[in-house]
Amino acid sequence: MNDAYFWPILMLVGLMAGIFTGYPVAFVLAGIGLIFAFLGDVPVLFLSLGVSRIYSGILTNWLLIAIPLFVFMGLMLERSGVAQRLLRSLASVFRGLPGGYAFAVAIIGVVMAASTGIIGASVVLMGMMALPTMLKNGYDARISTGLIASSGTLGILIPPSIMLIVLGDQMRVSVGDLFMGAVGPGLLLGGLYLAYLIFVAIFQPHRMPAAPAEDNTEPLWRVAFALIRDLLAPIALIAAVLGTIVTGIATPTESAAIGAAGAMLLALLSGKLSLSVFADALRDTTKTTAMIIFVMIGATIFSVIFRKLGGDQMIVDAFALHGDNPYAVLLTIMLLVFVLGFFLEWVEITLVVVPIVAPIVAGLDFGMTPEQTLIWFAIALSVNLQTSFLTPPFGYALFYLRGIAPEGVSISTIYRGIIPFVVLQLLALTMVVLWPQITLWLPAYLSN
């Protein structure tokens, strides 16, 4: 092994150890960074860069204002009972069936994904809305948490998506094409989750028991009517969020405020919004936003010192690829991104890896135009990066879910619950790689 890798590897080991003490991840990231700055003899003045990174990279990043807005929107939907009602009536459509609630959650996951572009907020919202009910109804905690974490992560793939915006910027391909290209794979993933749920419902019905009998007495027409009624408010909200983006009234970030205002209006109309409920929601918005952003703050401190001690060179060397079979090169890249995804955040991977591999991939011959190749590669990469939210030990979706899960749901339950869904994501990734048409048909169809 190369001597130059001594500090970066030791740093990763130290990070693992620190995380497992059970101390908050954000502070372990920053703390380990500083400890190694000291051990690795980094000039003290270099640490001042931490402040610059926090201020310019995070606090002034206007795109991130969408996070408190989406969190607040989620809380309003939850406190007003709008979301629960939708969930309940969706679930009662599948009444009498094992897994009814789970189907409802997967469907809502796709719908939510189409209205938000960031991951934290949708996992948190789904977790607060659905998890307590699923557990109360006797659902297996592993499948419940796995489903919520993974369907909540769909938001980063299905447009609008901050990740696709950053990727488009890095790879210099049209963000519009990426948005369109991601629709097929996003729906594919949603479909795979549903297929898996059906499989579990048939072969292991005890893990997802049917709703109790008294809920099953209403005639079907009334259930259908209730569903339509309960769908109206959320659909109006999604229409407002997506509609203002599509018609050019708002940017994706601005649309978050429209959603927040709309959700507040719904909550007011529901009559459940007392001043104390409202004040509570505002306080929770503060804490949840801070929880999400502080992980980014910790990571930015860790990564600058990781770089200073040669960590980026280690990653670059790992990509010193060779071989003339284009698929072998692609496989190596995907494998490395998958492995990096265990430890790093998608932003880090995108910023470090993409500039190195994009030119390599653009030069390979997969029987497509260079532009098609890049769009297809970017989407495959996004599916892969999406997995990084779910893979332990650093799966941000898992952290967020743990942050709001009821007492008694430990992180190890969540770690185990996520396994089948990660397998499904790898399956989706394989399909996206093998059949580029899954990605390319919609952009091609729309441009004609």
């Binding site: 003045l45 860069l49 990279g57 009234i249």
Partner: protein, 322 residues
């Protein structure tokens, strides 16, 4: 001896990306391998807007920038970064190194402990992407446009709603019509953003930035630690860099414009009376800014006097167009 340098650009960005690496190679070659500079891309140590502060404090010894980035801290940077109806590249070059420009600018950098070496002369930008035609200055009224700096202030005077959309959202915003127009850079860079897919009109000239400077900035203590020879080598390496990059940029623009035209975009010029109307507002903006900062004022007066003086040479030499 080796030093870290961080650029405000990604190293893979065409032209401005590799520029500091080419400078570092030259310095290494000319010092016989004695001074080695490790070039890092945007965000490696600090986000782009923090490079100046980091060099100033000494946390990073060197940086590579677009001078206009530092306008919030050094007002004159706004003028050097992009001066509406400012000098063409050759006049900018003459003023900077032979006409006393560099001495004036360095005065603004001194209080921050930073040495500035202009190192990459940027050719004129495009006038911008517009989803409707611009026939009179009235057409700017109510136009939602992404344009920064003094050019933005100028158009605001004409009633445009000028705003800073982050780079990542420009494309979507144009595509959906949330903004009606944007300027970004020269054709070579604009091409990469894919604006040609969603906007029909690509206007010239880049009145808001007929030329611009990128520079190497070095912490003053680090600079003073170099021998006089090394200091001279660094300046000469920048001059070589400027010559190389001017040729390279011109070469790339023609190609980029051809590609943009092939995508079905109308490549056109603003009518002359529109340009005269903008110019009037631009001069008002520049005079206002000059009133706020003495070094800005000194540089503005020196540069306009210089443009007037060499202007005669250009007029004498002008050959009618074919």
């Amino acid at each position: 001896e080796s030093f870290d340098l961080q650029s405000v650009f990604g190293l893979q960005v065409p032209s401005i990306g590799p520029s500091p690496m080419k400078w570092a190679e030259r310095v290494k070659l000319m010092t016989g391998g004695e001074v080695e500079i490790n070039v890092h891309g945007a965000g490696d140590f600090v986000p782009p807007f923090e490079v100046f502060g980091a060099v100033s404090s000494g946390a990073i010894p060197m940086g590579f920038d677009w001078i206009g980035y530092w306008a919030e801290t050094i007002p004159v940077a706004n003028l050097i970064g992009s001066m509406p109806f400012g000098p063409s590249p050759d006049v900018a070059l003459a003023w900077m190194f032979e006409g006393g420009g560099l001495e004036i600018i360095q005065k603004a950098y001194d209080p921050h402990g930073v040495k500035v070496i202009p190192c990459h002369l940027v050719v004129p930008e495009a006038g911008g992407w517009f989803n409707k035609e611009i026939n009179t200055v009235e057409d700017f009224k109510g136009l939602n446009m992404r344009i920064a700096g003094l050019g933005g202030k100028t158009l605001a005077k004409l009633g445009a709603n000028t705003q800073l959309v982050p780079a990542g959202e420009i494309f979507v915003s144009l595509e959906t019509g949330r903004i009606d127009a944007t300027e970004f850079s020269a054709p070579q860079l604009d091409l990469g953003f894919g604006f040609q897919k969603v906007v029909k009109n690509y206007y010239f000239p880049g009145w808001h930035q007929p030329s611009s400077w990128d520079s190497i900035i070095i912490n003053m203590d680090v600079w003073n630690g170099f021998s006089e020879d090394t200091q001279n080598i660094m300046v000469e390496a920048c001059k070589a860099n400027i010559a190389y990059n001017l040729g390279d940029q011109l070469n790339a623009q023609a190609e980029a414009i051809a590609t943009i035209r092939e995508a079905g975009v109308n490549v056109r010029r603003f009518p002359d009376e529109v340009l005269m109307g903008i110019r009037e507002q631009a001069e008002a903006v520049l005079t206002e800014e000059a009133g706020k900062d003495p070094i800005f004022k000194e540089a503005y007066e020196s540069l306009t006097a210089y443009m007037d003086r060499v202007g005669e040479w250009e007029r004498l030499q002008a050959i009618p167009h074919k």
